[in-house]
Symmetry: C2
Subunit: 394 residues, 2 copies
Amino acid sequence: MDITSETFLSRQKRTSDYLLEEGISAAVLKDFEGSRNSSIRYLTGHPQDALLFIFSDGRTILVPWDMLLAEKNAYCGQIIPYTDYNRNFIKAAAAVASEKLSGRLLPQEKRKVNEDSRLKLEFSSSSAWLEILSLKNEISGFDIICREKGIDGFLDSCRMIKDSVEIQIYREASAVTDKIIDKLEQYIRKNISAAGKIIRETDIAFYIEKLAREEGCEGTGFETLAASSERSWAIHPWPAFSSGAVHAEGLTIIDFGIRHKGYTTDVTMTIAGKNLTEKQKEMISLVEKASFTAEKSLKPGISASSPAEDINLLFKNAGYTMPHSLGHGIGLDVHEAPLLKAPSGSPETLKEGMVITLEPGLYDMDEGGVRLENDFLITKEGCEKLTSSRIVFL
Amino acid sequence: MDITSETFLSRQKRTSDYLLEEGISAAVLKDFEGSRNSSIRYLTGHPQDALLFIFSDGRTILVPWDMLLAEKNAYCGQIIPYTDYNRNFIKAAAAVASEKLSGRLLPQEKRKVNEDSRLKLEFSSSSAWLEILSLKNEISGFDIICREKGIDGFLDSCRMIKDSVEIQIYREASAVTDKIIDKLEQYIRKNISAAGKIIRETDIAFYIEKLAREEGCEGTGFETLAASSERSWAIHPWPAFSSGAVHAEGLTIIDFGIRHKGYTTDVTMTIAGKNLTEKQKEMISLVEKASFTAEKSLKPGISASSPAEDINLLFKNAGYTMPHSLGHGIGLDVHEAPLLKAPSGSPETLKEGMVITLEPGLYDMDEGGVRLENDFLITKEGCEKLTSSRIVFL
């Protein structure tokens, strides 16, 4: 199933309605190197490098770096080349805002404007301090708005609950992910102790990328992490994968996702080698227990921090600490709301339609690391496990 | 040649001296997903996911997400786990600043403090608006500073001029890059019209990644772009590479870099197929001329925008427009200062020791794209061409 133009238009309409309700005349989103915002893809289908202006009266204007790419991909009212503004964000924002908003007031906006007399132009919550200062300086006639839970909070909350098309995409993506997990397990079992064979971290990373492309995916959703027993003590090994050999002993971690129609999965396998130490066995057993316990607790209505609290306690009682969060939402980005972290200042509540990961993990400089990560859809009653990653015992 | 602990310590010292001169008590840098800052690697060797506090009295404190990774990689006075602050940036900044700065005043700082009575704590120029507001709210007793040309401007200017070790690394990296260019040309020539063979964009991307790893590099410096004649009209094709076939006709663009000891190269080849149209031939000839003309103009003392102005004019006179900049600095990041763009508000001046790319390119939805990119070291008299990318005619 593909995302259709109707879906993009309805997402745009919903966003315009939100702005109208909030008394905001227009919102400006930005997606460039160093400051990515997948909401532009969510709203228009345009994949990268653009500004998006959304007006409360329903108009949308995309200002792409690559005009040809936009013409091929974007569902949007109007497209203006970024080169028209010398590829300068402040110039583009000032020009589009003053030209497109001058003299235009909608009934609801008028009511708000009466209260404080100026039109409101909202920028992403991630906008830079110096950028907002420049905007305030360069754009006259509007109030420059940058709020914690404004336009980005709204779009995050839209993206957090997957609709039926997105859920279908996740079912397809999960099937491909599981196929890769199975093939990878076979590949490792077959080759890891074969005479004259060496499996390298690079082989694993390439194997995953190749299978994902063969299955028609856009590729992997993030750089695959493949850390042999020498490096699996790192949460995110660096470099992500190396030419180092994967051994039949010790603990190897493989963390990957495939990107399908824009959406990424995110799973982690641990390869548990032969002759494990008692401590390694204990770490594996704790992580498997954590994974099982957390999965059982998932259901709508609970706080996103509550499974994380349970697992932190489980590890603490055994004398261990997990140095990262228990899980997170996935979607167009690999890390989205909600964050399953404890303690957390303002946790989300789990809701039907969320797609999240659980990824309990433990790390030790001498023993290596164990992590087990799978993706789950929150359902009306509890959850549905989308992927079947596991600890593979050699 | 490797970067030694002495180099890291001397970079830290130079930064502390800068802060002392500016009357800033400490600067805080942040490198996390969504907000990367390679200056932490530049200053300490720690590769990713950390805060770095640099004090004007020479102290440095790293607050890493992955403590084990920091212990292996970071040259730094003190390391405190990010988990101590519940992995919360504002909490960590407030706690470290108040604990480590309370009661400490250096002679020069005292002079500055007398003028305006408060200690100054500086954050990156890329800091978010809401983050700086929170910091101002949470951190009492200090002035929160965020300047356009402050600590980041200083570090950018340090990183912009490569020292002898960095230049040596670039010579090694360029040799590997050239080797890959040669092998890739052979690979394409051999296979593109061979019976029963299909070269896919994925094959090219994997081939480059594999060769880079075999040569002992960290990997590629950014996601390889491989766009067959069907997609080379895009400046940055999307996805970066696909399972699509590369054809013996038309224009194919391959843009890649290899990462060696942290530093990335950045080159682009165009594969010019058989039976080219007149327009394709004209685009190729213009891009080759632009590359040659720009290279000849490179020397210390000229404005970084001046070669870009020349090339824009060259293209304009022929009825074409280049939709991107002419080139950019490279280093730990693929896009660094200086930016070779015209017109530009505040261009840098080219200086001896800069390593930059020139990448003239032209794109057409029907004809495809041509881009030719090489890396250059600015020398005392002019420039040295580091890489040997080219238009390959089949």
